[in-house]
Symmetry: C2
Subunit: 250 residues, 2 copies
């Protein structure tokens, strides 16, 4: 599969004659035309032969797995700039569907491999991407394993708020293009619990609705405190949260 290292010298080859030396992964995708997906349309399905790697240039995608009796788990939402399809398996082990209208570019796995072998600058970028993905997966495991419903929803709001604003700072507004069911399947909750929890946050003035798929973060500090990623000052945990619920009537 990935063992096609024909050109062992390429690591040291200064410049390939035919192919331009790529310096970013984006460049690899930039030459192919964009494809469009409508809302709800699938990019690929769990079990399909995995032949391409995709880069999202616009819109939001959901990545999910389905187990036997229909239970669905969304393992991630992907935004512009993210890549999807990375795997050494012959088939995709998850499905990808458009949450919003999406535009993607695709390259074959072979071309992707070749580009990596030919460009030493690309490899650290891929490594970094995969490390970030792994770190995100572990955070998600923490969320699913030990966080309460409220902490999960707050963590999610913060995650999306960050992603919408370049991962650097938390925006004051959050767009949630996905359905409540999507959120529930991502957070390991039911749709009703998501709904209840959001209502509670609105009632307490932590966030304020801006239509059904957007919220303003009225009290970012409180949202942070409720997300469960205890910043050292918070050491009483669950009990502290309950206390606050009682203490803050408004």
């Amino acid at each position: 599969m990935l063992s096609t290292a024909h050109t062992a010298h390429s690591a040291f080859a200064p410049m390939a004659t035919m192919k331009p030396q790529l310096t970013t992964l984006d460049e690899l995708f930039s030459t192919v035309p964009r494809e469009s997906l409508d809302i709800g349309e699938g990019l690929f399905w769990q079990g399909d032969r995995a032949q391409h790697i995709f880069e999202i240039s616009e819109g939001v995608l959901r990545i999910f797995k389905i187990i036997g009796d229909g239970r669905r788990v969304i393992t991630g939402f992907l935004y512009a700039g993210d890549m999807v399809g990375l795997s050494l398996k012959d088939v995709y082990i998850y499905s990808a569907e458009a949450v919003t209208p999406v535009k993607v570019r695709r390259v074959t796995k072979k071309n992707f491999r070749d580009a990596l072998e030919n460009s030493p600058e690309l490899r650290p970028q891929l490594f970094a991407l995969m490390c970030d993905e792994m770190a995100a997966a572990q955070d998600q495991m923490v969320l699913l394993s030990r966080k309460s419903a409220e902490e999960r929803v707050c963590s999610f709001l913060l995650l999306i708020a960050k992603r919408m604003h370049g991962d650097q700072q938390i925006g004051r507004s959050v767009q949630l293009p996905m359905s409540r069911q999507d959120m529930a399947d991502y957070l390991g909750l039911t749709i009703e619990t998501v709904s209840r929890t959001i209502t509670k946050l609105v009632t307490r003035g932590v966030i304020s609705p801006n239509g059904r798929h957007a919220f303003d973060i009225a009290k970012p500090g409180k949202l942070l405190a409720l997300c469960g990623d205890g910043d050292s000052y918070e050491d009483a945990g669950e009990r502290a949260v309950k206390t606050r619920q009682a203490v803050w009537p408004h």
Copy 2:
């Protein structure tokens, strides 16, 4: 602790031109001495400066994160042959402790990077490792998100049974060197629920205890049916579910 760590690094230090061309990741570690960890001893901690990458050559390690109020999430158990410490971050984002007596080898991140750049054969191996890790993380998300307590315990038993036998087939016996608390923190349950569930499986004759930290799988088919990875097309490719007939004639 870990007093033998420093002498070995110089083995890779010399000029860039004459580095041996490695063909497997194992070889990269094989020249440095093994370090020993006692039961419960930490290899590194969340927040430590991340300077090394480790390969486990013996024993079992637990990888975990701690959030604010003391909640612990074990994100994985690592066995001989596994690598740990891969990250682009400056600090480790999780901790690693010995479940059993452990022997590890370490290389610096710099040497690791250099070896990868100099050996095209190594890169696909690392890519494969990271993909496997990612796939495992997603399976774990499914488990934590949507599986019942019983399904979690059964999945765990099957996972360990597979890993103990080279990932190829499921053994008839399972060694569980970790404590019930470790299992609970890995499965997103409480220690009591783990205990109850195991008792129930024993009562029903699915497994039979062999001391407290080992079980015989009396009804492998039943265990598979209970693990929740329904017979969806997901596993149709090459996975154990498919080979169930071959492995277990009954």
